[in-house]
Amino acid sequence: MYAYDELDRTLIHERVSEFRDQVKRRLSGELTEDEFKMLRLQNGVYLQLHAYMFRVAIPYGTLSSRQLRQLAHVARRYDRGYGHFTTRQNIQFNWIKLAELPDALADLAEVGIHAMQTSGNNTRNVTSDQWAGVAPGEIEDPRIWSEILRQYTTLHPEFSFLPRKFKFAITASAHDRAAIKVHDIGLRLHRNEQGETGFEVLVGGGLGRTPFIGKSIRPFVHGRDLLSYVEAIMRVYNQYGRRDNIYKARIKILVHELGIERFAQEVEEEWQQIRDGALKLDDAVVEEIRSRFTYPAYEKLAHMPDELRKAAHDPHFEAWRRNSVFPHKVTGYAIVTLSLKPVGGPPGDATADQMDALADLADKYSFGEIRVGHEQNLALPHVARRDLPVLWKALDKIGLATPNVNLVSDIIACPGLDYCSLANARSIPIAQELTRRFANHDTANLIGRLHINISGCINACGHHHVGHIGILGVEKNGEEFYQITIGGRADENAEVGTLIGPAVPYAEVADVIEDIVEAYLALRARPDELFVDTVKRLGVEPFRERVYATR
C-alpha cells in the first residue's frame, strides 16, 4: 500500500478547497455552466439522467480498509447507500448533489482519496492489474510506476486541456490483466537483455466508436526515461490531436492518420530534446516512491494447512475455492476474488453495509488491503490459506462469495440507460437476466471461462469490443436493440470481436446468448477448449447460423 505523505495530502486538500470555491461560484451564477462543466469534470462530476454522478479515483485499484469505510460513509451520507465499481478501477456514486460535493470530497480527503481527473480531457486513473504486487511471476510491482505516473500526470499544467481524455494502463505480468492494448498508452514492464527494468510502450489503443489495438512505439524505454518519453508523446498529442471533432480527437486517431512510423518519429524528435532534462528519474527518486509502498509481514505458512484440508469435504466451500481463489507469490497465501455479480444483481455494485463488512474482513484476513479489478470485482490480496474456510463463511453471509468469477455470469456491464445520459439502451437488466439464465454453477463451470461485456452505447464503457461475447445497445425506432459480437479479447492477445448478424430486440438477447453458448458446447473440440478459442478456430459462421436460423 502506498503511504501518502504530507505533500500528497496537502495537494488533495488544496484541490478540494479550489473546487469548493468553484461550486460556490457556479451556484451563485458567477460561473456559467459552459465555464464550469470542464472544471467539474476534472473533479469527477458528471451530469447523468437523474442526477449528478460522482466518480472517485482508486489509484491502480488499491484501497485500505479505512478508505473503503470512508467510501461506505460517502455512499450513506451523500448518496443512496451503494456504489458502483467501474471498468477502470474507480468507484461511482449515482445520486450525489453538487452542493454537497465539496463536503463529500473533504471527507474523502481525510483518508487520502480524491476525484482528480477522473473525467475531463486530461489524463485519467493509471490502472494496473488487481493482482499487482502479489501475483506469481511478476517482474516487479507495477504500482510503483503507476504511482510515479499518477503524480506526474496530476494537475500537469501543460496537459490539463487535451483534445480528449487520455488513459494509461500498466502490466508487469506475461498475462495482461490490465488490458494495456486498448489504452491510449499501454506499458508492459519487463527486463532487457542487460537485466535493466523498462517498458514496452504501446500507443493508440482504445475502444468506443473506432476501436483500435495499441501499436508498439518502442520496445524498450528504460525506467529512468519513462516520464520524459511519456511527456514527448503527450506533447505531440496535445499539439496535433484533432480538436475539430470529438469523435476523432483521441490519440488513436492521430496515430492512425499519421501512421505509427511517422508518429514514432515525431515523438522521438521531441524526446531527444528532453530526455536528459528534469524528468530523468534517478534511482534514488524511484527508491523514494518504492520505499513508501509497504508490504505485509507475511508469516511462514504451510501450503496445505489443516483448516483447509478439513473444509474440503464441504462442496459449497470447494466450489468457491476452486473458482475464486488464486495462487499467491508467497507460500501459504492466496489472492481471493470477490464476485460483485450475484444472481439477479446489477454487476459491480456494492452496498455501504457490504463495504463496511468487507473492510472488517480485510483487516482480519488481508492485512487491511482490498483491490478493485477492471472486471468490476474486488479482491483480497493477502489471505492466508488457513483462513480461507472462515473467510468464505463470512463472505457468503454478506453476498460476496458467488462462485462465478470468470464464468458466463461474471458479466461486465456499463450502467446503461438506467443511469447514463449517453446511453441508447439499458445494459443492467440484460446482465441481470443473463445471471438468472446461467445461475446454475455446474452449468457455468461446464461452459468454462467466458467473458460477456455489455455496453449501452458506442462509447463502450462496458468494453464490449473485447468481450468474448460483446453486447452493444443501439436504438431502432425508439426501441432497444442489441448488436452481438463474439471472439473479442482484452489480454495480451487482444482483438476486437466480430459481429454475428443484425441487432436483436431487448426481449430476445438472453435467448440469443443461450443459443451461442449451446452452439459452443456442441462445437468445442474438447471440454477445455475455451469459447474464445472455438470462435478463433471455426469463425463466426456456425454461431451465426445457429442464432439466426429461426430469427
Partner: protein, 171 residues
C-alpha cells in the same frame, strides 16, 4: 479587458494593430503572426517595442529566429478548453529560452491562472474583471506541485529528496 502583470492589474502599454492598418514607427504594438512574417526584419527594426500574436495551431519554430527582438509573444486560448498554447509556452520558455513577456490571450479565466503561470506565462489578458482582481490569491491556492516545468518551483519529489538528504546528514 484587464491586463494582469506581476500579480496585479496594470495598463497595457501595447496597442493591437489590425493587419490592414499602417504600422506606426514608434510606440509599443502587437501585430498578427501573418503580418510579422511578411517582413520580420523590417518590423524588428522598429523604434518602438513589437509583440506578435501567435496562433495556437502553428508551430512556434517559425518565430524562434526573432525571439530576441520581440518584447511580447501573445499566445491564444480560443476557448479555455483548448490547451495547445500551454505546450507552445513551455517550448518558448524552456527550449528556446524566450525571456520577453509571454502573454495569455483569448478565454483566460481564473481557474487556469496557476496552470498558465507554471507553463511560463507572465501576463494575462483576463476575460473578467472579477477574476483579474483575485489573481494574487488564486495563484497562491496551491503549494504542492508534482511536475517540473520551467517555472522554478520545487517539485514534491525534489522536496522529498531534500528532506531525505537533510535527515541522513543528521541535520
Amino acid at each position: 479587458m484587464p491586463l494582469v502583470r506581476d500579480g496585479k492589474i496594470t495598463d497595457d502599454a501595447f496597442v493591437l494593430v489590425a493587419d490592414d492598418a499602417p504600422l506606426p514607427d514608434d510606440g509599443a504594438i502587437l501585430i498578427s503572426a501573418k503580418r510579422f512574417l511578411e517582413d520580420p526584419e523590417a518590423i524588428a527594426r522598429r523604434l518602438g517595442k513589437t509583440g506578435v500574436v501567435w496562433p495556437n495551431n502553428r508551430d512556434v519554430d517559425d518565430l524562434v529566429p526573432y525571439l530576441d527582438r520581440l518584447a511580447v509573444v501573445a499566445l491564444v486560448f480560443p476557448t479555455f478548453r483548448d490547451g495547445r498554447a500551454y505546450s507552445q509556452a513551455r517550448l518558448l520558455r524552456e527550449r528556446f529560452l524566450y525571456r520577453g513577456e509571454l502573454r495569455a490571450t483569448g478565454q483566460v479565466l481564473r481557474d487556469q491562472f496557476v496552470f498558465m503561470l507554471r507553463a511560463g506565462f507572465d501576463a494575462f489578458e483576463v476575460k473578467k474583471l472579477a477574476d483579474a482582481e483575485v489573481f494574487a490569491q488564486t495563484t497562491s491556492r496551491y503549494s504542492v506541485f508534482y511536475q517540473p516545468t520551467g517555472d522554478g518551483r520545487v517539485t514534491a519529489l525534489n522536496r522529498r529528496m531534500q528532506l531525505r538528504h537533510s535527515e541522513s546528514a543528521g541535520l
